[in-house]
């Protein structure tokens, strides 16, 4: 395969901390291999900035394998960049053309305050999980997995929902900053399994209450979240969340 080097212009959001106002800063990056990942391209830029005595650009990353949910970045008007069903760490520079100007912004939502530059605090998602995204199991020996039969369709749908890596692209893409695709994946994942049944009602009510406390918006079913999701979580999960909520709310004591 042909190997190309790219010269690019970057417009990167720089912000010292949560209490300061940020602004776009322009950078030129040259001789970028199109086989590099997007984050490696930023690494190259940061190395250059360090050498020249400038503060490197802060951005989140961890596994760089597309499975941990740490990377973010709103690239040219789309969470995780131009490719479909892809995380920023798995976005490669062959997605761009020589001479392109790339605009890089952080996730924008009041519920995800900026920590520095392109890094935002996604602790709100952790607190939503803490409110009910678990099953309570007493300690002791694990039971035989085969003792609990599970319908294959439900197991598959549950697994598809459990694919959510909690990166926050759904919130970033939504015009309402709604976290309902994330929440619906977490609720559906457990609502479809017998292990989730004992806490089924309290889970959805508590998680929705925590989501509202965190300051996310309401879903208007535009579908932007589903289109931006790197793990292709279906918007049908939001309809399931609504059903779970209605059922739990109407039958609660």
């Amino acid at each position: 395969m042909a190997h190309n080097n790219l010269n690019l212009k970057l417009k990167v959001w720089r912000q010292k901390n949560a209490n300061t106002t940020g602004a776009f800063v322009k950078y030129d990056v040259n001789d970028i291999s199109d086989e590099m990942s997007f984050l490696e391209m930023l690494d190259v830029l940061n190395e250059k900035l360090i050498v020249t005595g400038e503060e490197p650009i802060a951005f989140d990353h961890d596994c760089r394998e597309g499975i941990c949910g740490m990377c973010s970045l709103y690239i040219d008007g789309k969470p995780h960049g131009p490719w479909e069903a892809n995380t920023t760490c798995q976005l490669h520079m062959r997605a761009f053309k020589d001479g392109d100007t790339i605009t890089i912004e952080p996730w924008r939502s009041n519920a995800f305050p900026i920590v520095k530059d392109l890094t935002v605090d996604r602790g709100a998602f952790d607190r939503i999980i803490q409110a009910g995204g678990y099953v309570s199991v007493n300690t002791g020996n694990a039971v035989d997995g085969n003792s609990l039969p599970i319908n294959k369709d439900n197991a598959d749908a549950s697994f598809a929902a459990a694919m959510c890596i909690g990166c926050g692209a759904c919130v970033a893409a939504c015009k309402n900053s709604s976290a309902m695709l994330f929440l619906s994946a977490k609720v559906s994942h457990l609502a479809l399994l017998p292990q989730g049944e004992p806490e089924r009602k309290s889970r959805v009510l508590n998680m929705v209450a925590q989501m509202d406390k965190e300051g996310f918006g309401s879903c208007t079913n535009t579908g932007a979240c589903e289109a931006a999701c790197p793990k292709e979580i279906s918007i049908a999960n939001i309809a399931r969340l609504n059903k779970e909520y209605l059922r739990a709310g109407l039958t609660a004591e």
């Binding site: 008007g77 009041n110 309402n176 709604s178 309902m180 208007t220 535009t222 289109a227 709310g249």
Partner: protein, 227 residues
């Protein structure tokens, strides 16, 4: 959990939008069906009789109270949700994400505002004269005296600008329904793939047929297709 807590959460507010939206969809069927009587080609006898029934029978009058309640609940809740949702992103993006969703799905508040302006003018044209200020009476073949709303329609739709405004409003209604119909069912919890495909199909059909029927009414009078 109280009902107040349930219907004031982010999901609960949407449930109100969904349920009131479905009620309004049902109302549109009744309204379009009754108005279709103008095409009976009988000089408005059937239309005026239908209008008299709706105005004099107790069941539609009770439903009318519910209609006004639900329509204002839908409007007020819609504006409240739009304002609340907009406030959740204090700093916007330099490049907006528009590829993942349809423009009309993102513009429900604007489409709804056009419809609200339409309602005010529509009520002034027909509801206020019929219920408050009075309409010229006409005697039906069976001897019953009724409001001649057919004549009011004939007169109103001689003005080209009124006709244009009604048609533009019907286009807004079509796009509002194209998103709203299927979204309402998702909101009240229909997630089954089979039903969802069916509802999407019916929703798009409904969003074309009902606004088209409404738009043809002023056009029919303006072009003298009905007399």
């Amino acid at each position: 959990m109280t009902f107040k807590q349930m219907f004031t959460s982010s999901v609960g507010k949407k449930l109100i939008m969904g349920f009131t939206g479905i009620f309004l969809v049902l109302f549109l069927v009744v309204h379009a069906g009754l108005n279709a009587c103008i095409w009976a080609m009988d000089g408005g006898v059937m239309f005026n009789r239908a209008g008299h029934f709706m105005g004099s029978n107790v069941v539609p009058r009770i439903l009318e109270v519910g209609l006004f309640f639900f329509i204002f609940l839908h409007i007020i809740q819609g504006y409240m949700l739009t304002l609340q949702n907009r406030s959740k992103r204090a700093v916007g993006y330099a490049v907006n994400y528009s590829k993942g969703s349809k423009w009309y799905s993102r513009s429900m508040a604007i489409l709804g505002t056009i419809l609200l302006m339409f309602f005010v003018i529509h009520w002034k044209h027909f509801w206020v004269p019929s219920r408050i200020t009075g309409v010229e009476e006409i005697k039906l073949p069976n001897g019953v005296e009724v409001h001649n709303l057919y004549a009011v329609m004939q007169e109103t739709f001689q003005n080209i600008w009124v006709v244009v405004f009604y048609v533009v409003s019907c286009i807004s209604l079509a796009y509002h329904l194209a998103h709203g119909f299927q979204s309402a069912f998702k909101t009240i919890g229909v997630h089954n793939k089979r039903y969802h495909a069916m509802i999407s199909c019916i929703g798009y059909g409904f969003a074309i047929i009902i606004p088209l029927a409404f738009a043809m009414m002023p056009i029919s009078f303006y072009l003298h297709w009905v007399n």
